[in-house]
């Protein structure tokens, strides 16, 4: 743990990403304690008020303005981060687990398993997200769990493809043969020998997916699938503010910025983490 922080402090980019991410996560965790205006209730008369910095600490101040129902955007952003981060990270992780597993399976087993899985990927890619989303709503009804499900469904293929390619080359490495030589089972080889060696690409895909998934939440809310109003989420805020982009820029720009910052921090921190967990680059003792 000590190494962890010392290493982290050495990398400017990694530290920046980590601090930023920590702030975002802490804000999300402690949102209820921050005495922010209620994010789900607004004053209709104060709707679409622009950001004002005068009297910042007075109760009626809206440093980032208000939305179309007069709710404080700052408060919605901070409270929304809970839902957004929860949904996005669950979806990314879920998609990551499934995709990584299937990628390893396809790559390691090869042959028929591989061909079936890869055609499955083709099929999945050809079906538009919207149809998939509607199907899930129709079949299971709208709920947060289903949002996560849809997002994870669109996500696993990206992992699977990239991991599979990686595994194809790993499979030929001698340590895999060595594992077979000692009588290790296929599952053991897949999880203990191959998996740790594909975590890096999985991490890279994951950081990229995070951005996509957060934004996708906005698309889903057009279908009524996303997070239900008035619960705040960044995607929802993007979707709802869209109409007002030209007259009330703050409604969309701040959630957009929040997404960009989150993605940025996750990327920077992820890059560093990747190096940290790569034993090759971590020989600093």
């Amino acid at each position: 743990m000590k190494h962890f922080f010392r290493d982290l402090c050495r990398s400017k980019a990694g530290l920046f990403g980590a601090v930023l991410l920590a702030i975002i996560v802490l804000l999300a965790l402690f949102a209820p304690l921050l005495h922010l205006p209620d994010p789900t209730r607004g004053d209709l008369r104060a709707r679409l008020a622009g950001p004002t910095w005068s009297g910042l600490f007075s109760p009626g101040a809206h440093p980032l303005g208000t939305d179309e129902v007069g709710r404080d955007i700052l408060s919605r952003l901070i409270h929304g981060s809970r839902m957004t981060l929860m949904v996005a990270s669950t979806a990314v992780v879920l998609g990551g687990i499934v995709g990584t597993f299937l990628g390893i399976l396809a790559g390691y087993k090869g042959g028929l398993v591989d061909r079936i899985l890869m055609r499955l990927v083709d099929i999945q890619l050809a079906i538009p997200l919207m149809l998939l989303a509607l199907l899930v709503v129709a079949a299971l009804g709208p709920s947060i769990t289903n949002v996560v499900l849809v997002l994870a469904l669109t996500s696993w293929i990206r992992y699977a493809r990239i991991i599979r390619a990686q595994v194809l080359s790993l499979r030929e490495r001698e340590f895999v043969q060595s594992a077979r030589a000692i009588g290790a089972s296929t599952l053991r080889i897949m999880f203990l020998h191959i998996l740790p060696n594909v975590l890096t690409p999985a991490l890279v895909v994951g950081t990229l997916e995070l951005a996509r998934v957060i934004i996708m939440d906005a698309a889903l809310s057009f279908l009524g699938l996303g997070v239900q109003p008035p619960t705040p989420s960044w995607g929802r805020m993007l979707a709802d503010g869209r109409v007002y982009l030209s007259s009330a820029w703050w409604t969309v720009t701040f959630p957009g910025l929040a997404i960009v910052l989150t993605v940025l921090s996750v990327n920077l921190f992820g890059d560093w983490l990747r190096d940290y967990f790569d034993p090759k680059t971590r020989s600093a003792k």
Binding site: T281, R282, S283, A284, K285
Partner: protein
Amino acid sequence: MALLEIKNLTVQFDTPGGVVHAVNDLSYSVEAGETLGIVGESGSGKSVHILALLGLLPTPPGRIVSGEAWFDGQNLMAMSDRALREVRGGQIGMVFQDPMSSLNPVLTVGRQLKEVLVRHTDLRGRALKDRMVELLDIVGIPHPEARLSQYPHEFSGGMRQRVMIAIGMACNPRLLIADEATTALDVTVQAQILDLVRKLKEDFGTTVIWITHDMGVVAELADTIQVMYGGRIMERGPVRPVFHDPRSAYTWGLLNSLPDEGARTQRRLYQIPGSPPNMAKPPAGDPFAPRNPFATERCRAEVPPLREVGDVPGHKVAAWYDLPALLAAQKEETQ
């Protein structure tokens, strides 16, 4: 006159584990027409100093701290990139060790051979093609014409290595540098390649630097042998005196480690005690001192300079001790 003269070359790597002192104040020269065999511990800077010389060192993490390398009156270290590219491949041919990864897998062998010829010679069209075929033929690849349009993966390891050598000598370089060029090959192919290099020397007076772990190859091919350890030269000189009368404890250890030829007489091979130095924390004095049973206090404290020894001119050793004397003393003791 020396074709290549390296002066005070120091190369370091910045790694998370600290600064690796890969090459330390290395100086030597190679005469035109000479064949220099370099042997030594892995990690002793054999490959790195060659890469530094040719401007091929990966920077970062590598860093040339100081040094000059005079090739034919020009300092390679001070040369512009552009000028250096004229020298590489044309005047200095290079053969790397790993034949599996040193050829570009997606280009045909012919193309990879052609590139270097087009770059450094005026051969074009028919003449170019003829030269390519000739080169493959020289290195002993059957059906050269057909092979030109094949990809590296269609060649066996030995054949790939021969292609690498063909590329290295394609433009009749004045200096050919081979870095463990035959390690992965069986001895017949190795012998073939050694014959080839000898022929090259005879026909063109090519100067050769041959890096290897195989003492047999050095004995067979080289005029001069240079033994390296910890980024420094331990011993250097014409092959005969060095093989027969090693003056460095490390050279002595190396030669001793070889199995006897002929019927098996030893139960165990001699092995040098200890393990290679961590070049991120190099020992203060003689890098070999920690493993050297003959080491003195001075060895551990102070880096010995390379000094002339023995009767054969050019035989030099970097050691504070006098090995023959010590060995004689030891022999007496055991008796």
